[in-house]
Symmetry: C3
Subunit: 145 residues, 3 copies
Amino acid sequence: MSWEQTKFSFSPRSRGCYLVTDEVLKNLPQIKKYKVGMLNLFLQHTSCALSLNENWDPDVRTDMTTALNMICPDNGGGKCQFIHTDEGPDDMSGHVKSSLIGASLNIPISNGRLATGTWQGIWLLEFRDYRHTRHCVATINGLKE
Amino acid sequence: MSWEQTKFSFSPRSRGCYLVTDEVLKNLPQIKKYKVGMLNLFLQHTSCALSLNENWDPDVRTDMTTALNMICPDNGGGKCQFIHTDEGPDDMSGHVKSSLIGASLNIPISNGRLATGTWQGIWLLEFRDYRHTRHCVATINGLKE
Amino acid sequence: MSWEQTKFSFSPRSRGCYLVTDEVLKNLPQIKKYKVGMLNLFLQHTSCALSLNENWDPDVRTDMTTALNMICPDNGGGKCQFIHTDEGPDDMSGHVKSSLIGASLNIPISNGRLATGTWQGIWLLEFRDYRHTRHCVATINGLKE
């Protein structure tokens, strides 16, 4: 039975969806030692999110940004009126999207690998236009080989 | 302290929300042996999701599909334009809904039972019209009696 | 290696988003004893949710309610037609929002504290107008000092 916790950062990116599976795995080589367990990835921010989604066609990531901008437009897009607007039109919409998608992700570990499906990758979703460094706390709990 | 991981499949279903609590429990009889712990259910797919919601009135499940189709219509429903459309109008909308609801679910175990509330059941949300078999990785971690 | 599970209740509140970090910590003093671990907070209800979001400006919480009412209006808001309407216009919309945000939250523990970022707080999102007491199952798993 083992616990490991490590913190790493995602490099600054502007609004969009990014496939970060390789970046996550590079920072967490210890996953290979676990026969069974759970990985929790936790973003310490309120205007970005983590999700699992399609790892092949980059159009899906572009479309996801398009869809989220439709679901919660900047400044409410005339459909509702936000009060919290001092930090720009992408601020409150970013907070909404963060709660919709979620900042915390749980992925099972199986025989030294993440137990993701063939088409699943880890996405970082950035909701702010301005590039921010995003800090991630990774917690692994499981049985080593 | 014990870890168990097992994989099972949900039978193919067309677009809709399905109450699968009994199906999950039938595949995981070992839950009964845990005094305290956590169950993680993880779908290995990007156009379906798992959620906890109302376990009694089937109208709620019908309405959920209606609501999600309103929130992210197929092909953007004229409100936005998707690029990823080769696999049909329900493809990109399915990916969006999958990230909104989430493919991974954590449920506490208490005295051999899932610690869900009176009205909570486990839902499989299928976003594609065509029926797909959906694979689920179940990971249990906890203390046995 | 230690497991602890406890149940506490959030006092009844009407529709809105509430910062409950202090309330959660007051109910879980044992977090201080954990060097590393995970906290799972699990609501036993289907028309409220838990999320991590901005812990400073109360306008963000007001705006979140506004945004969610825009994304899934009561009774569908003329954009779709719900069947499950017997319990009031905020019933089905509450179920939808509950699945969008989620009833279960995982937060890493690091050196006796929740490993949240500077601006992150724990929110209880209540989707019903009528005030309900909300029960929460808190499960802690980790290594004590």
